[in-house]
Structure formats: C-alpha cells, structure tokens
Amino acid sequence: MSETYTLYNSTVMEHFMNPRNMGDLKDADGVGEVGAAACGDIMKISLKISNGRIEDARFKTFGCGSAIASSSMATELIKGRTIDEAMNFSNQEVVDALGGLPPVKIHCSVLAEEALKAALEDYVKKHPELAHKSPASETVAA
C-alpha cells in the first residue's frame, strides 16, 4: 500500500508504539491498579514521591492502543507535580495532550486518571498525616 492510514492520530500512535515510562518502580511510594468495568481494561501506575512531589511515574496496561497511549501520556504529564496538583489531575489533560481520542475511547483517559488517583490514595494511606487530602471525593466517574 502506498499510503498509510492509522486508527488514531499520530500522537496517540506514537505513544502506543513507543510508550514512555512503561514498567514498574522499585520501592514505589504509591501504586494504584484500576479496571474499567465498561471494557475490561486494567491499568497500573506506580509513583515515586519525595518532598510532596512526584519524582517518577511508571505504568503497566492491559488494554487497547488508546489505553496504552493514555497511560503513557498521563505518566509524562504528572512527573514533577505536587501531590495537591496531581490530585486535581483530570482525564481531559490526557485527551488534550494526545490531540484527542475517539469518543468511544475517552474512557481510556478516565482510567488513567483513576489509576493515578488510586496510586496517590495508596501513598496517602501510607502517610496518615496527609489523610485530609484524600482524593477519593474528587474522583470523577466515567
């Protein structure tokens, strides 16, 4: 074939083919694993946190191209943010940074947000002094 057509835009395809931050973190400070009831995808995000700031992030994803790209982009975006900033993270940031996702795939970006917030909750649980900042109430449902 002379031309190449892609299912997703070039940014999504790039993150799917060459995902950033793929893997696990040794001695992670917070780990979150969530599943999408809608489709069955599963996403895991591990965080390294020091001085209230996300120093490093990794992901592992069982899911489609856009789920892999969403988790890759989400881990890129949150590195360097404070816990407070990360708790306000929205899936829309992932969608925008990826240059858009097909409507039926928006839930993949929501899964990335949920995995990140689950990882932050895990961290907060291990640090009771931060408990009042639990992100649970802020999590937006799909």
């Binding site: 799917f16 083919m17 599943g35 809608a38 069955g40 592992k60 789920a67």
Partner: protein
C-alpha cells in the same frame, strides 16, 4: 515490508477475470433490467446468467430460486423478517442458534419488539449447535429455524444436515446463513434440506454490493423493501447489474476452484496454528481443532494476559491484517456474542484475534506472521500488569492453570469494583 492479508472473512479482492466481466456493465451495457428496449433486454440476459451461476454454486434446482439483494445483511433481514411477516397468522415463534451473525440476531430482536418470540438454541464449548436443544425448541407455532453453516467468528461447521432433518421432521422451514462458507466449502441446499440460504460474492473474490438469497417453495416470503416488481416482487429496487455479473463469475470460478481452495488454506491453517502453539505459551484456539469440524480458512485465537486491539494494531504496523472480537475493538465495548455463547472467559475474549486465510497467502506469509506475532505478544506482555501478576502468582492462567493465585476475572472485578461483562 511484507503485506499479509489475513482477514478474508471481512472481504476479498475481486479476481481480474471477475473485474473484466463486470466492466462492460458500467459503460456500454448500462441499461435497467426493467426496460423493455434493447438496453434493458441485454442486461436481463446477464441477470439470468448470473442467477444460473449462483444456483450452480449451491446446487439449487432452479435459477428462479435465486434472489439478488444488496449484501448478506439484507439477505438475512429478508429471510427472517420476510418469513415472519408472511406467516404472522400461522405463528409468531422463531428458533435461531445463539451464535448467528448480528444481521440475523438484530432482525430477530427487531421482531421481538413487535410481539414475536424467539428461542436461542445454545452451542457447546466449540460452538456446535446442540441438536437436542434445537429439537426441544421447535413448537407448533414455530415458523422458521435459522442456523448458519459455518460460524463467521470461530469457524465452527454446524451439523447442518442433521439440523435439516430435524426441520424436515417438524415441517419448519430452515434458513442457513452461508456467508462464511460459500466459495470455501461445498454448499448444497438439497443436502442441507434448506428452504433458504444466503451468501455474498465479496467473500469469495467477487464484488461488494450484491448479496444472494436462495429460497425454495417451502418458505413463504414477503418483501421487506417495497417498490417495483424486481426479483419476482420479493425485493424492489434497480438491480446492481455490474456486481451481479461479477458475483456470478466469482461463483462459477469458486465452484471449480473449491477443492484447491480447501487444500491450500487447510495446509496454511495447520502450519499457522501449529507454529503459534509452539512459539507462544498461554494461547488458545477458539472453536474446533483444524479438521472436519472447522472451516479451513479460520483461526480464532485468544492470547492470554494481553488485549486484542493492541495485537491488531501492532500486526497492522507490521503489514499483517487481522481482526479481533475484543470489547476494545467493538464500538459497543462488548466482546463478541459468539465468544460469550461458547462460555469463553472474559479475559480470553479480551485477547481475541481472528486470522482468516485466502488463496494469495503463502507459506512465507505464515512464517512471517508466526515470527512477527510472537514478538508482538512478547512486547504486549511486557507492558501488561496481568502478565507480571501471573509471573508473581497473584493471578492464575485460564488456559493452563497453575493452581496459584486468583482468577483474572476475580482480579478484574476487584480492581474495577464491578464484574466484567
């Protein structure tokens, strides 16, 4: 990069001789078959010839039993709704297998919303219709039984002669969807005891835009598309002559090529499945093993711990065209209803890939696919939390249980707070 087309169940290229046969009917022989002048009479001859070619492919008694529609979906709609409406006063009960094509399933659901009832006959773990359950499902008010010849998804060949006998004993007309078999496996309407059979030339090197419905006198049928009196009043609308001509030619070629097609694809199918099993741990074939109970063109695979769309995309980026029944590929976010009907674990349905072979595929294509697919699986497993959790004994394999860890489905439910559908 090598290009390997492994989606012949979706469509096939038009053969050069088929294309050549079609060409005059776009330009000089452009007439409408309903016209009474030379232009109309000329294309009427072409229509008649194609009807004969279609009848020969399925061993029908007469070309008059062949009706042209726009595609397989329309044929299925006409078969189901046409018979249901024609027999409304006799009874409003239909019997279908649980693994019919969506065009059959959705037609039935449409009728159910209007007061018809339908029994869906279960299949076993290989997708084979349970004959006793079929027998039990038929009632005095049953007006139609619909069972496909070969499953479009998992390649199971149904015991259609036995189904035909059950229908003959009970006097209920049988509709056999042969979309996944015609052109690749002998279809004999008389042997099947079928009152109706449908198939589409674009599945066997003919063009899109034409479907066929065979109907004998056993099935009363009313039109569902109204207008002129084309197709004996059973299907109004100007006939797509170029597609009908090309389809007829494709049917004629298929009939003579059938033994060669079966031999060629069976060799590749066996090499492909054997190679996949050798190279990839935790892979499963859905449907019967290659042999007399499975069509030679189809492999429906579940690769554990990874999802299907990612596999499909990486195959495509490597020049290999495949399909998937994963929920991520479907616009409804649901797994294939066929995979659900055979009781496949959701985790395995999620990792589904369908490869369908054709005449242009070679041994080299198969070997390239084996090598490439094994790399793709390794790459995606490396990215999958499930693979890692399996290695650590957190979750267990469905395909080859080790006895360690919980099930994938349990784990998925735990992390999503809801059971996977």
């Amino acid at each position: 990069m090598r290009q390997v087309y492994l989606d012949h169940q979706a469509s096939t290229p038009v053969l050069p001789e088929v294309f050549d046969a079609m060409k005059p009917y776009f330009t000089e022989a452009f007439g409408n078959a309903s016209s009474l002048h030379q232009h109309g009479l000329r294309v009427r001859e072409a229509l008649k010839r194609s009807r004969g070619q279609m009848a020969a492919l399925i061993n029908a008694d007469s070309a008059e039993e062949i009706f042209f529609t726009s595609d397989g979906t329309e044929s299925a709609n006409l078969a189901i709704k046409g018979v249901a409406y024609a027999n409304e006063r006799r009874g409003k009960h239909l019997v279908v297998s649980a693994t019919e094509h969506p065009s059959v399933m959705q037609s039935v659901e449409f009728l159910e919303r209007q007061g018809w009832t339908c029994t869906r006959v279960p299949v076993d773990a290989d997708g084979t219709l349970q004959l006793e359950a079929l027998r039990a499902a038929i009632r005095p008010e049953t007006v139609l039984v619909a069972v496909h010849h070969v499953n479009h998804d998992i390649g199971t060949i149904q015991p259609i002669r036995e189904v035909g006998r059950v229908c003959a004993e009970t006097g209920v007309p049988l509709y056999v969807d042969c979309e996944a078999s015609a052109g690749w496996l002998p279809v004999d309407v008389r042997e099947f005891g079928a009152a109706m059979v449908s198939f589409s030339p674009h599945r066997f090197y003919g063009p899109k835009g034409v479907g066929v419905l065979y109907r004998n006198k056993k099935a009363r049928l009313v039109s569902v598309i109204h207008g002129g009196v084309q197709e004996g009043g059973r299907r109004a609308g100007t006939e797509n002559i170029p597609a009908i001509v090309g389809g007829g030619m494709a049917a004629e070629i298929s009939l003579t090529e059938l033994p060669r097609r079966i031999a060629h694809t069976a060799t590749l199918q066996s090499r492909l499945w054997k190679g996949l099993k050798e190279r990839i741990p935790y892979i499963r074939l859905n449907g019967p093993e290659p042999g007399p109970r499975r069509i030679s063109t189809n492999l429906n695979l579940s690769t554990e711990f990874i999802e299907g769309e990612g596999q499909l995309l990486l195959c495509d980026l490597n020049g290999i065209a495949v399909a998937s029944g994963s929920s991520c590929v479907s616009k409804s976010l649901k797994i294939s209803h066929v995979l659900a009907a055979i009781g496949l674990d959701h985790a395995l349905a999620q990792g589904n890939i369908i490869m369908t072979l054709g005449m242009a595929n070679t041994v080299e294509d198969v070997d390239y696919t084996l090598e490439t697919f094994a790399k793709i699986v390794t790459k995606l497993r490396g990215m999958s939390p499930m693979w890692d959790e399996f290695q650590r004994g957190v979750i267990d394999s469905v395909i080859a249980p080790t006895g360690r860890g919980k099930s994938f489905s349990q784990h998925a439910a735990d992390v999503s707070g809801k059971a996977a559908h």
